[in-house]
Amino acid sequence: MAEQTLRQWLLTDTPTSRRHAKLSALYQGWLSFRGNTMAMIGLWILVALVAIAAAAPLISPHDPFVQDLGNRLAPLGTDGHILGTDSLGRDILSRLIYGSRITLYIVALVALIAPIAGLLVGTVSGYVGGWVDVVLMRITDIFLAFPRLVLALAFVAALGAGIENAVLAISLTAWPPYARIARAETLTIRSADYISAIQLQGAGAMRIITRHIWPLCISSLIVRVTLDMAGIILAAAGLGFLGLGAQPPSPEWGAMISEGRRFILDHWWVATMPGLAIFTVSLAFNLLGDGLRDVLDPKGGE
């Protein structure tokens, strides 16, 4: 019964407070999101991924780093190694489970760094205007004009291989679209009456940007981040595959494919399984992103 009333409270036409209205809008968004089966599948896959990453030591059947050369390249369905073993006899399933932590780590870092950098550049550019706008947007255009993977390659080559540098390189190539979006939003917000009102009250540019412009840019940025996640995962896996991301013996999925590549014709599962994992996760992000876009930005869809 209490649930029923909660539902009614959330769906009311006459919200009694600001928080009430906000929660109500969120709930209605959730209801329309829940109706989208594909997006829900994406969401569940990602929830499962987070759970797997969190519980990795509990659920992985073996230590992902322990080698067992007597039992190398065991096929699928071997006793104790459901997904077989790799060229050093390490359990592939356990490595995949631990690899999910690395994937989430990379995605989370890039998803933090790139949008924040883009938000900073875009809002400053849009709010200050003038030559600052011209210079910042030119820089953004130059980065946008670069082929992303090649730029990331060159950055990693200069900085040295490793997860942190790969994250940095991907972020450096990923921020420009966010800057564009944030600038466009800022331009429409800037001339709003309520901004003039705060200006008259004596608020400085810093306060206006951080307190009154940023919050309004967030929702369009979130949609864009979710849609970009798949690209980020693929880029990170690509760098790992080239040996420029996580270093061995780290169970990064891209690097695992690279290891299994040598045996692709005789022991196909070694490279196939991590690829399936990458595909599943980036598919999930794409599904979720499409669903979120439909809810948050109805014009952007079909």
């Binding site: 130059i142 082929p147 993977l149 390659l153 080559a157 200069a158 900085l159 690509g238 690829g275 595909f279």
Partner: protein
């Protein structure tokens, strides 16, 4: 006097045709973007932890040799002057010497580039031939099974790591089924059989009328090209669909139908005609994307193109080659972007 000058100036500006001012603006922005690209690669070259002098003279060189090379490279000059030299070199097509084989990087790139061009071109052709009709049909029969199929094709394309798809393709079509040639451009017996004219082996073997080599080369290129093309197929079909949906809901389509025009003519003679310009810009963009995608594909298929070149250089710390390759790919990327922009402006009066 001053006011007369002013007027004259204003009149002159007004009398300049619009396209002249527009092209000056475009050229200016191209120049700035390219300069920015060169600047970024220059910075990357600066921050790397490798000493460029040591890389050339080796660790046992005497101090005087070291100094000589140091001055020769212009490293004693201010950074901005060094950047000036670098821009001048790049404009002349001089990317320095490869540290690996002591040959000019520009020569190496010119040698490997046709292989990438061949692969990407065939890939984009594949994407157009399948993607455009798929997108059109998906839009016309919105909600049908073919629309669902187009959706799945695109979704899978956006989510699949290209290098993994390449490996799987190699495993299935080469390893298990044996339908296609393996990695590389031609079988080992056919290497260097036909004289290299264009550097593109399909074209060269046709010029040489060597059909055996042509057949073998085709069996090698068909798999990487179609896998690469799958990515442009995903993009092109998606964009075609949304362009077509926009047209099909326009009033002139209803008018055409009311006039009793056949559905085929409505779709292809009316709606499709109006999306051609947008479509060409999309194709140019996906072509640029393929150049990038070819980096990973080339490695899987041991394809001796610019992607393999950059990554090989990368793993052996040959920075001149990496930066040279990056600049070349970046410039082509920018040119294709600008080209698609221009096309749009020239052919679509609304965008002017």
């Amino acid at each position: 006097m001053t006011s007369a000058n002013h007027e004259g100036g204003a009149r002159q500006r007004a009398s300049l045709p619009l396209w002249v001012t527009a092209s000056i603006k475009t050229l200016g922005s191209i120049a700035v973007t390219m300069l920015g690209l060169v600047f970024i690669t220059f910075i990357i070259g600066r921050v790397m932890p490798i000493d460029p002098v040591l890389a050339i003279v080796g660790e046992r060189a005497s101090q005087s040799t070291y100094d000589a090379v140091y001055y020769q490279l212009g490293l004693d000059k201010p950074v901005i002057v060094q950047f000036g030299y670098y821009v001048w070199d790049v404009m002349r097509g001089d990317f320095g010497m490869s540290l690996l084989n002591a040959r000019p990087v520009a020569e190496d790139i010119a040698r490997v580039f046709p292989a990438t061009l061949e692969l990407a071109t065939l890939g984009v052709c594949f994407g157009i031939v399948l993607g455009v009709p798929l997108g059109v049909v998906a839009a016309v029969r919105k909600g049908s099974w073919i629309d669902q199929l187009a959706r799945v094709v695109a979704l899978v394309g956006y989510s699949m790591p290209i290098f993994w798809l390449g490996l799987m393709g190699l495993l299935v079509f080469y390893g298990i089924l044996g339908w296609v040639g393996g990695p590389g451009r031609v079988g080992i017996f056919y290497e260097d059989v036909v004289p290299s004219v264009t550097g593109m082996i399909l074209v060269d073997s046709i010029l040489d009328r060597n059909w055996t080599v042509l057949k073998d080369a085709f069996s090698h290129i068909v798999l990487p090209a179609s896998l690469l093309g799958y990515y442009s197929l995903a993009y092109i079909s998606r964009m075609t669909r949304s362009f077509m949906l926009e047209q099909m809901s326009a009033e002139y389509i209803t008018t055409a139908r009311v006039k009793g025009m056949s559905e085929w003519d409505v779709v292809w003679k009316h709606a499709f005609r109006n999306i051609r310009v947008q479509l060409i810009t999309v194709i140019a963009l996906s072509y640029a994307g393929l150049l990038e995608g070819s980096v990973l594909t080339e490695i899987i298929f041991s394809w001796p193109g610019i992607g393999s070149y950059i990554t090989t250089a990368l793993l052996s710390a040959d920075m001149n080659a990496v930066l040279g390759g990056t600049v070349v790919v970046g410039l082509i990327f920018i040119l294709l972007n600008i080209f698609s922009d221009l096309l749009y402006k020239v052919f679509d009066p609304r965008a002017r």
